[in-house]
């Protein structure tokens, strides 16, 4: 009984998503191995050995894996799958791209976006954009992707061995041409770890930017907006968080001058920690906020920026 995690990394550093997937994988109750697949990935593999509770790290180093394309990556995982009862990956774009391919090749139905491990074969997962939670039970070999916002990261504390594994031949049907990371220095709204959102209380497009940008820069956060702020012309359409805009689930969501209409809450309720800054103590946003700060945002936000120094 062993679990294999497909590590999430960019070739240089191990992404925190791996440590979160590890937390979920450990709940399966079996020893955990981490597979680091890529090219020139010894630093990533070394980082993986330190994660608490990892029994072994497998290193698959080949040029064909440099861009973690789905076909060679899935072929690699399938070649190793015989030794494992569960294959796990974080539900990142790489994990979501690769694992269903693995599942199909193993003739297994994948459980996507596991948000809670109830038993080694029973899981909760959100459906209908998080508006319902399904409890599913699997039999036989498990293939799971893990919803990263639902788990905390496992810390360091181990010193596992690295074992090199052989890499199957690349089918060569797809080729990586190039990548373009977000042009803006700020992260994409949909995948950001921290989101700073502003509402109509910011008063103008200029103030929206002037008040939120320093905080967003400080936290390396994406900037979002309520529909009211978008309608008022303070923020671009694609910044809208909510029922008709983007649905986000960051680690930290800071709502500034947003009253918290349910349409907005629908777009951010799965965030791990919600902070609300609003002058109206009765604003519905405080009903869902872990930490609330009541007062004038134009003084409080700069103060917060300073306090974060």
């Amino acid at each position: 009984m062993t679990t294999l995690i497909l590590a999430e990394h960019d070739g240089k550093t191990l992404n925190e998503a791996t440590a979160k997937a590890l937390t979920a994988a450990k709940a399966l109750g079996a020893p955990v191995h981490i597979l680091v697949a890529g090219h020139s990935i010894s630093a990533v593999a070394a980082a993986a050995t330190r994660l608490d509770g990892v029994a072994k790290v497998l290193s698959a180093d080949a040029e064909s894996l440099a861009h973690q394309l789905a076909e060679p990556l899935a072929a690699l995982v399938v070649s190793l799958a015989g030794g494992y009862d569960a294959i796990v990956a974080a539900a990142t774009s790489t994990g979501k791209n690769t694992l269903p391919r693995v599942a199909a090749l193993l003739d297994v139905m994948q459980v996507s976006e596991v948000s809670k491990v109830l038993a080694p074969d029973t899981f909760e997962r959100p459906i209908y954009a998080g508006n319902a939670i399904e409890t599913v039970q699997a039999t036989g070999k498990l293939v799971l992707t893990i919803r990263i916002s639902a788990f905390t990261a496992t810390g360091e504390g181990a010193n596992a061995q690295v074992e090199t594994v052989s890499v199957p031949a690349d089918p060569g049907t797809s080729q990586w041409l190039g990548a373009e990371l977000s042009a803006s220095v700020r992260p994409e709204l949909a995948g950001a770890r921290v989101v700073v959102s502003g509402g109509r209380a910011l008063g103008s497009a200029e103030q929206f930017e002037a008040v939120l940008a320093p905080l967003a820069d400080k936290l390396n956060a994406a900037i979002g907006a309520s529909r009211a702020a978008v309608d008022a012309g303070y923020a671009a359409n694609d910044m809208q968080v909510g029922q008709t805009g983007k649905v986000v689930a960051p680690e930290l969501y800071i709502a500034i001058g947003i009253s918290g209409a349910i349409q907005h809450l629908a777009g951010m309720k799965d965030s791990r920690i919600v902070v609300a800054i609003n002058k109206d103590a009765d604003a519905p946003i405080f009903q869902v906020a872990d930490f609330g700060l009541v007062g004038d945002l134009f003084t409080l936000v700069p103060e917060l920026v300073k306090a974060l120094d």
Binding site: R200, R227, A228, D231, A232, N237, Q243, T244, A261, I262, Q263, A266, D282, P284, Q287
Partner: protein
């Protein structure tokens, strides 16, 4: 937008797939199966915009689909218990059945979702060969040589700027030998037709109410299928007309609703908050203990009755159903009359087509309708609304009850036929003459705010379109609606569409549930409701 439209021709074009439009279509095909009959419906599907209590009197269906009882229909729960309460703030006084005129009895009626009844009627209509196209709004009345020759559907893909976007699709011209407007209360094309052809010249103006409805899932212990309960009195002051209903349907669902007559005077009145407050009454809240609210909606209701029925036939078509206003106010029912008007109109249209006529005025229609069951139903209760308006709810209901008994027993009224006082937009008084009303805070369990309510109505509009609520004169809105009347639109709108923010008028058109109250109640008639892009609006389920 002057780009020519693609054209299609039909025998009959019907706007609106509610009970009236569907009944007209069904009756047309029953009489002449070869007729081409088209219905356009602005809701995303049939029933998406249909909202009603609803206790229905099956007399309409008996005439339309006589064997409906033998079929699989969504008409399942017969009324088994009928209660009427007068509420004071702390107490409830049942009104004994014997003082109620027999026409008020709900014996033989059914508690239904009218939306689901319409879905069923749509399948009946389609089986007969009627073409029904939901998601297409009747946006413009096509008038040539003084007669209606068709309807144009709305353009799709117009951007906020008013310019066509990349997905622009020009609306279609749907030509019909006759065009039936079955848009329901305060239809936008109906409004144009009434103005164009002077249809209301001989009648009183229409009177309206705003009706709210919520559907709740209640516990087994609180579910009494077949129970119908109406209330009058609290939380409304005696000078404000209105009342509540609670209907116990199947599957542990209970519909609770509230109607406020739109002739109220105090601009601070918030019909929505009156409804929320109603649910906290000791005689009502028990039903909703441990229950969950499933849906919410609101719609204007016609209340003018017999005196307010405009001329129905116009050159090239007719008004059917509540577009003309066939609600029987004391019975709180109109859908039976909508069905019956669909039937009688269809019969006149079919006869005209069979005689080779088209595009003319159906001359006998108005007289036939007034002489038929609809006229009889409404004539008996014609003085109820004027009596309520003049004498308040308590005395007005007493006089109205007396008057209905007279009409029932003697076939005549001591009052003759009373006229309506003022149109609803003219009844508001300046805010300075009134005190703001301090409504209780909502608890999020039994009482809610507007936005969380709109949320569960499934309302949505394509965002990048021009607002479909046209304010003709923004300066007037500020100088009158805000400065004199203290912004009543922020209170009468059941969906939080209107806000005054630092003196500027914010119109959240995406929230609009298509109730039409703003079109009716704005004190200056400064707001014009036009259909948004087809498919927009609420997505009501089981309403």
């Amino acid at each position: 937008m002057t780009e020519p439209r693609e054209e299609m021709e039909f025998d009959v074009v019907i706007v609106g797939a509610g009970p009236a439009g569907l009944s007209a279509a069904i009756r047309l095909k029953q009489i002449s199966p070869d007729l081409s009959v088209l219905i356009v419906e602005k809701g995303a599907e049939v029933g998406s915009h249909v909202i009603s209590g609803a206790v229905i009197d099956p007399s309409g269906l008996d005439a339309l689909v006589p064997d409906w009882r033998e079929r699989e229909t969504p008409i399942k729960t017969a009324v088994t218990d009928d209660r009427f309460l007068w509420l004071t703030e702390k107490s409830a006084f049942p009104l004994p059945g014997f003082i109620m005129p027999p026409l008020m009895s709900n014996h033989g009626n059914y508690i239904v979702s009218l939306a689901n009844v319409c879905k069923w009627l749509a399948t009946e209509a389609e089986a007969l060969g009627v073409d029904i196209y939901p998601g297409f709004a009747g946006a413009e009345l096509l008038i040539e040589d003084g007669k209606v020759v068709g309807v144009a559907t709305g353009d799709m893909g117009i951007e906020k700027s008013g310019e066509p976007g990349p997905n622009f699709a020009r609306g279609m011209a749907l030509k019909g030998k006759y065009v039936l407007l079955a848009e329901g209360v305060r239809g936008s094309l109906t409004k144009r037709a009434i103005a164009e052809f002077g249809l209301a010249k001989e009648s009183d103006f229409q009177k309206y109410g705003i009706g709210f409805k919520e559907i709740w899932q209640v516990t087994d212990a609180n579910h009494k299928p077949g129970l119908v309960q109406h209330t009058l009195g609290w939380p409304l002051q005696d000078s404000v007309g209105g009342g509540s209903y609670i209907y116990h349907l199947e599957d542990n669902q209970v519909a609770i609703g509230f109607v406020v007559h739109l002739n109220y005077k105090n601009p601070y009145l918030s019909p929505f908050d009156e409804f929320q407050r109603l649910k906290t009454h000791p005689a009502i809240k028990g039903t909703f203990e441990g229950a969950k609210r499933l849906s919410y909606g609101a719609r204007a209701i016609s209340e003018g009755g017999y005196q307010s029925i405009p001329q129905l036939a116009f050159p090239g078509g007719a008004l059917v159903g509540d577009a003309a206003g066939f609600v029987n106010l004391p019975r709180i029912k109109g859908s039976h009359n909508a069905v019956l008007s669909g039937i009688v109109t269809a019969e006149h249209v079919a006869a005209a087509l069979a005689a080779g006529r088209s595009g003319d005025t159906l001359a006998d229609l108005d007289a036939a309708l007034r002489a038929g069951p609809i006229g009889k139903d409404l004539h008996k209760v014609r003085n109820v609304k004027p009596l309520l308006s003049r004498f308040g709810t308590l005395l007005g209901m007493g006089l109205a009850g007396f008057d209905m008994w007279c009409n029932t027993l003697l076939g005549a009224s001591l009052f003759g036929t009373l006229r309506h006082g003022k149109p609803d937009y003219a009844t508001l008084e300046p805010a300075a003459q009134h005190q703001p009303i301090d409504y209780p805070k909502r608890d999020g369990v039994l009482t809610f705010d507007r936005l969380s309510s709109v949320f569960i109505s499934g309302t949505n509009h394509e965002e990048n379109q021009p607002p479909h609520l046209h304010v003709a004169d923004l300066a007037l809105q500020k100088s009158s609606e805000l400065d004199i009347f203290a912004g009543p639109s922020t209170r009468y709108c059941p969906a939080g569409v209107y806000e005054w923010v630092d003196g500027s008028y914010v119109i959240n058109a995406q929230n609009c549930v298509h109730c039409k109250t703003c079109d009716i109640k704005d004190p200056n008639q400064n707001i014009d409701w036009v259909p948004p892009e087809g498919g927009g609006g609420p997505n009501y389920i089981n309403m």
